[in-house]
């Protein structure tokens, strides 16, 4: 049996999961990555996406937005601003989040007229949200 490592998923409001995991798929800002035991210590920011945790006995999936993951010798900790078990995610939640991202993009467009940086970031966030929704089959228009 494969080695396991400690996995923690915490949001500001509560700790969602804690236990052993054989592998964790993290939606990193620069691309997905799968972490297994004895991974090199890494810190990566998250993009909105699905976090997939494979434990010895079950596989769980969470929808996470905003935050970062810390991979150390002790295990993986994911600190997400918003984290929901994938099964609990509804189309309403999704469209709410997409609407939020869209508002942020419009805001950024107004605020930073001559700076592409923040506008691109907001646009990427929106695109990530929509992609995540489509991926889960509850995409919104």
């Amino acid at each position: 049996m494969a080695d396991t490592m400690q996995f923690d998923l915490v949001s500001p409001e509560k700790s969602l999961a804690s236990g052993p995991a054989t592998s964790v798929q993290i939606p990193g800002a620069d691309g997905d990555m799968t972490v297994m035991a004895n991974h090199a210590p890494t810190i990566t920011t998250l993009r909105p996406g699905v976090l997939r945790v494979e434990a010895p006995d079950a596989t769980t999936e969470y929808v996470v937005t905003g935050g970062f993951a810390e991979i150390s010798a002790a295990g993986v900790s994911v600190l997400a601003e918003r984290a929901v078990a994938k099964g609990d995610m509804t189309a309403e939640d999704m469209s709410e989040m997409v609407a939020e991202a869209r508002a942020a993009l419009n805001n950024a467009k107004e605020f930073f007229e001559n700076e592409p940086g923040p506008v691109d970031d907001a646009a990427k966030l929106l695109a990530d949200m929509v992609a995540m929704g489509d991926d889960m089959g509850i995409g919104s228009k």
């Binding site: 409001e13 800002a29 990555m33 210590p41 810190i43 920011t45 970062f68 150390s72 600190l79 601003e81």
Partner: protein, 291 residues
């Protein structure tokens, strides 16, 4: 000698007050437990967040490219004070203590020739601060409708603060709230959030060398605004627990005082009643003797 009827009414009214304060105390105790649980549950996030931020800030902070949120604007002329208080009263000195601390801070800043701006969270603090510092107001966040403080509320406040920082409206931001120690002790605290400061425990500071993805700077730039929200959120939770703790002990005192008052009034009532009876007897006896 007070009128018997009056005394009786008075006793009844104090007894009613005692019932109300007792009920409020019990409600506060239940709410306190919930508030403490919420604070407890947010702790793992905050601790880890700050540990990572502390490490990042230490490694990037020295370089000239550090974000403004971390290194500051290079000035401390305009100071923003975020004063967090409760939405409801009847919680002892809770609000006054925070406001007192904030006022002392504002007075010191004014004496030093700085510009003060104030943002209040919570109705009670706004009312108290307005009397003296009404001109410095830049806004108020109303949480009256919020039953249970969530992270989104903190994000909302953080957004207001950050937007105003980006617009160059202030240089330094400080949070004022009460730190919960236990039911009888809540310490009014001032915490500077912009430029950000992270307490790094020297002994616990881990020396692991991390790979950063994307770059250290990019991560820091992404996480700093979130750290403001995190700081505000934990301040809100601390404040929530402190408020209920203060209310609980204030109501406990009030209940005890009401009890003492009932005892005192009852003695007085009995004495007057006896005096009236004695009087009547004397009248009857002297009437009978006169015959």
């Amino acid at each position: 000698m007070a009128n018997l009827k009056e005394l009786k009414n008075r006793i009844a009214s104090v007894k009613n007050t005692r019932k109300i304060t007792k009920a409020m105390q019990m409600v506060a105790a239940a709410k306190l437990r919930r508030a403490q649980e919420a604070a407890e549950q947010s702790r793992p996030y905050t601790t880890r967040f700050n540990a990572v931020m502390g490490g990042l800030a230490a490694s990037v902070g020295g370089s000239g490219s550090a974000p403004k949120l971390l290194s500051g604007t290079g000035s401390d002329q305009v100071q923003l004070m975020v004063v967090m208080t409760s939405e409801r009263g009847l919680c002892g000195g809770f609000n006054s203590n925070i406001v007192k601390k904030a006022k002392a801070h504002a007075a010191a800043l004014k004496a030093a020739g700085k510009t003060v701006k104030i943002l209040t969270v919570g109705k009670k603090g706004r009312d108290q601060m307005k009397r003296e510092y009404g001109d410095f107001y830049i806004g108020h966040v109303d949480l009256t409708e919020v039953k249970r403080v969530g992270y989104t509320d903190a994000q909302g406040i953080a957004k207001t603060v950050l937007a105003s920082f980006d617009a160059g409206e202030f240089d330094v931001a400080t949070l004022f709230y009460a730190k919960f120690v236990n039911v009888v002790t809540q310490i009014p605290t001032a915490q500077q959030v912009i430029p950000a400061m992270f307490e790094v425990d020297e002994d616990a500071a881990d020396t692991t060398l991390y790979d950063y993805e994307p770059s250290e700077e990019a991560i820091l730039a992404d996480l700093l605004p979130r750290s403001i929200a995190t700081a505000i959120f934990s301040a809100l939770l601390e404040n929530g627990a402190s408020e209920q703790g203060a209310r609980m002990s204030a109501m406990d005192n009030a209940t005890r005082n009401a009890g003492e008052m009932v005892d005192k009034l009852t003695i007085q009532y009995n004495r007057s009643r006896q005096a009236v009876i004695t009087n009547e007897l004397i009248e009857i006896i002297s009437g009978a003797e006169a015959l």
